[in-house]
Structure formats: structure tokens, C-alpha cells
Symmetry: C2
Subunit: 298 residues, 2 copies
């Protein structure tokens, strides 16, 4: 018999909590700033109570499944990485349990590791990828450290991280380029994106093309409002080129994003000739955690 | 008749001053923190007096030539950029004069611009490149914003900037990678350099390979002391690849550097199969400013 499910995507800076009925419907959802970096050792049962105590009272028999950095060395209990290639059942089988109170345990899902030239890890994204329900395909999960993953025969066979979001923040806010940047005015976003897209494909590479954001503005050839959009398109374009070199030029990409990232990555992927299948991170997480929870119950 | 020369390489954060005899020998040299960012409008005659007043008293008839950011919009007086391709005599012809006092003028050398796909500029480096005395060749001037330049028939035909030094500082000190970095111990520099060099050539590109500095340390496969050397070799390697794509794979590179940059760029250029001709920035500047000063007197 399926049970209700309380599922948390519990990351470094944020937690997303869902109460899911035994029929698979999301009954309640909540986002809070209580990421693991704000929780001290031993503080997890109390933090869970604050995040989802009312979900437990509403569904006392619910299974509790936690994904993300909560299972890292700096989280509640370390759930060791599962190595690629990994099927959903491999992830479910490697889950560990943690005691919420004397009568209740929570299941902590493992992360995923990949040793394909460079060693790489993810925690949380694997659940979203499972949620895509792919037999074969390429997933792109943009963020501070974007992930691209390849799925074959229902298994995540390899993946790679890109520091795109973090490098964007550093260049936009902490580098010499930021001094010339202004809030985008009408037309600046399109102009910056078009120029950054061209920059991503220039022969000199990222370190050369980034500098052009400064010289083009100083020369009066690009408005300061285009600097941010330029850097965004340049970095996302470089990420797409890198992922293409690693995983081949798939015609279709499953993009797990919403808001500004859905817009920027969707735009750059389309400009690179890819067909984009967009799924929100919440939908992907709910689908993935339901699938993994079913594997736990099996 | 050649005259003595007082020459300043006057940049944003630093000034280097030289007293050069009428026979071309450096009689005195000085480095000071009085870059143009520390000087207010109207403060240049006094700043010059502090930097080189004793040189003037020692050689009252000396010509005074200033290169670098002192000729920028934010410097003393703007000396407009000369467009590539440019011969030394083109640079000398575009120099402007500024009044130090009622009886004395200083010559401010122009910067150089290049519009080869992306617009780019330099101020100061053109004098060092002239100092190499090349008929044909490739020059690499490492730094916060490294410059590569191509010289043909004695003219600087094009150049490109790379944000290598600045991005290194951001990744090493302000990114998530810095948290795992430690002071290099014995062997760390070589291990980090070898891994970073391989990372520079991995298909995923800079944004992907940079992240490996974190995962390799977290996995216990690389010491924290290797993070800095890894990032340095990765970024310098990417710069060399970008320059190769822009300027072709010349077998010989004229490297204008000293200290740690001479070591890191020399090592990465040699690993990339280039023959390195090393010149210090001071020697290149002195040779360049002497040549340009002779053009001014002509």
C-alpha cells in the first residue's frame, strides 16, 4: 500500500518541504531558509520539526524522505555517494536512516559520484534527474554549480559540474567588469545576450571574451546595462559548449529550471540549436522523490 | 645629440621611475605605490616631483617620458589610443605633452587599441613590446589582465587581453574553491600544476575544470596545498590555448615577466612545447622607452 510522503530537498542554504498524499498529490509545500549551514550538529530533529512538524501531524503514517546536502559530511548523517552509472533502485538501496524521535525514522538519500576524467559529485540533483523519468537523454540543472547529466537505459551514466553561477557572481560583482555595469535599460538585455553569445564562441576563450565586456563599454560601443546580460550569455554559452564537448551534441536537452535561469538557459540552448524540454525543479523533485520512495518501500 | 632620459612606467597602482644617461645606461631606478588611482586631478606635477624630483636635479636637461595609465582618461591628460597595426614611430608621433612647470614639459605616450573581432586596449604594455625589438614574433605579458601581441615587420599588428590574474585571485580567494585551499607543502606545487595543466585541456572547459579543484580535494585525491597551483596552471593553460587559437601556434614566445609569473608562465609555455625567450618587464620598458624617446627627438 502506498503511504503519504513527507519529502525535503534540504540543501546548504535552503530547504523545500512537501507533503504528498498516498495518491501522489502535493498537499502542502514550503520553502525556508533553514539550510544545513544554519543547523548545528544534533539540531536536525528540531529543525525538521520546525520545517515539517505540521506535515507529520497531518499525516502521522507518512514516510519521511530527505534529499540533498542533509546527507553530506557537513549535514545530519553522511550517506556515502553512489558511483555512476546508477539506476534509481541503486540510489534507493543506498539510502540510510536517521532517528527523528524514538518512534520515527527519516530516510536520507545518498548523493552521486562520477569519475570520468575528473572526479565529481552531486547531492540532491540526482533526485531531480530521476524525476525526469528519462530512459535516455541529457539533463541540464543550472545553478551556482550547474550540473549536466547523461541518462542511458534509465541509469545516470555520468555527469559534470560547471561553476557558471558562482563565476557570474564573481565577475559581475567583484571584478573590474562590475564597475562599469549598470542596471539594464530597454534593449540592453538583448544586446548583451547577443554579444555574449558571440563572445562564447570567439577563439580566445572565456578569459579573453570576459574582458571585452570592459573594453566595449569603455569604447562607447556597448551600454553599461548590457554588461550583466553579456556575462550571463558568455558563461552559459561556455557551459553549453563544454557540456557538448563532454556529452556530444544532443538535439534535445531537459532543462530543470525556473525563473531567470529558465529564461537565460532556455534562450542560450535555443540559440545553440537545442530543443528544450523545461521542467521546474519542484516538479522534478516531487516526481523523483516519489519514485525513489516507492523503491524504498519495495 | 642624445639627452639623458627620465622615464616613468606609471600604472594604476604603481609607478616605476628610471634615470637613464645620455649613453643609455640606467643610473637610478625606483618603484613606488603612487599609481594614478592615488593621485587627484591637478596632483600630477607634485606626484612627479615626489617620484623623480631628485632625478631632475641630477639631470636638469633630461627628456621626460611617461607611459601607462597616466595617459588614460582617469590619468593626467588623455593621450588617445593609436590603432593597430602600429609601428614604434606611430606611437611616438601620437605622444602628447603635459606641463610640469613653466619651463618643463613631460611627454605622455599613447596607448594602443585593436579591433580584431573584439575591441581591446593597452596602456604601457606597448612600450614593453617595442622594447623587445622584434621584427616578427609573439609577445606574452602576464599580469592581472595579461596581454598577448603579434608583431610583424616591426609593427604591432594585433593583441588580446586575458583576465587570467584577476580570475585567479577571485577563484583562489573569493570562491568556494578557496575554502579548501591551503599553503602549498613540498610537492603540492608540482602536483597541482600537473593536474591543472591536464584540466586546461579537458573537454568541459574552464568552468568545469575549475570545480574539480574542489571535488578532488573533498575526495582526498589532491592535497589542499595543490589548489592554488592547480588553478594557476589551469588558467594560464587556458590563456595559452586561447592565444594559440587567436595567433596560431608559434614555436617561440617572448615572455615579459619576472618572479612568480616568469616561473608559472615559463613552466606552462614550456609544457605546451614553446621555446621561451624571457625578458624582465624593467628591461623591456627601458629598452622600449629609449627607442620611443629617440623617435620623439627625431
Amino acid at each position: 500500500m502506498p503511504k503519504p510522503l513527507i519529502a525535503l530537498d534540504w540543501g546548504t542554504t535552503r530547504a523545500r518541504a512537501f507533503l504528498i498524499s498516498d495518491k501522489g498529490e502535493v498537499l502542502q509545500r514550503r520553502v525556508a531558509d533553514q539550510g544545513i549551514q544554519s543547523i548545528s550538529a544534533g539540531g536536525y530533529p528540531a529543525a525538521f520539526e520546525a520545517l515539517a512538524g505540521d506535515f507529520r501531524r497531518a499525516a502521522p503514517d507518512a514516510a519521511i524522505v530527505l534529499a540533498g546536502m542533509v546527507g553530506s559530511r557537513n549535514g545530519w548523517i553522511e550517506a556515502p555517494y553512489v558511483a555512476c552509472p546508477a539506476a534509481p533502485q541503486d540510489l534507493a538501496a543506498a539510502a540510510i536512516t536517521a532517528e527523528l524521535d524514538a518512534r520515527t525514522t527519516a530516510t536520507i538519500l545518498p548523493g552521486l559520484s562520477c569519475d570520468d576524467g575528473a572526479f565529481d559529485v552531486m547531492r540532491g540533483e540526482e533526485t531531480l534527474i530521476v524525476g525526469l523519468g528519462l530512459a535516455d537523454g541529457i539533463a541540464c540543472l543550472p545553478g551556482t554549480h550547474s550540473k549536466w547529466a547523461e541518462v542511458k537505459d534509465g541509469r545516470i551514466v555520468r555527469f559534470a559540474s560547471f561553476m557558471t553561477g558562482e563565476v557570474y557572481g564573481l565577475l559581475r560583482n567583484n571584478s573590474i567588469l562590475g564597475r562599469l555595469a549598470q542596471e539594464p535599460q530597454a534593449g540592453d538585455a538583448d544586446e548583451g545576450a547577443a554579444r555574449g553569445r558571440a563572445g562564447a564562441r570567439r577563439a580566445g576563450g572565456l578569459l579573453n571574451s570576459a574582458f571585452a565586456a570592459r573594453t566595449e563599454v569603455l569604447a562607447g560601443r556597448m551600454p553599461g546595462g548590457a554588461v550583466g546580460p553579456y556575462l550571463s550569455a558568455l558563461l552559459v554559452g561556455q557551459e553549453i559548449l563544454g557540456a557538448e564537448a563532454l556529452f556530444g551534441g544532443h538535439s534535445q536537452v531537459h532543462l530543470v529550471a525556473d525563473g531567470a535561469l529558465a529564461e537565460s538557459y532556455g534562450g542560450e540552448l535555443a540559440a545553440a540549436g537545442r530543443e528544450v524540454r523545461l521542467v521546474t525543479p519542484e516538479d522534478a523533485f516531487v516526481a523523483g522523490v516519489k519514485r525513489l520512495a516507492a523503491g524504498l518501500q519495495a
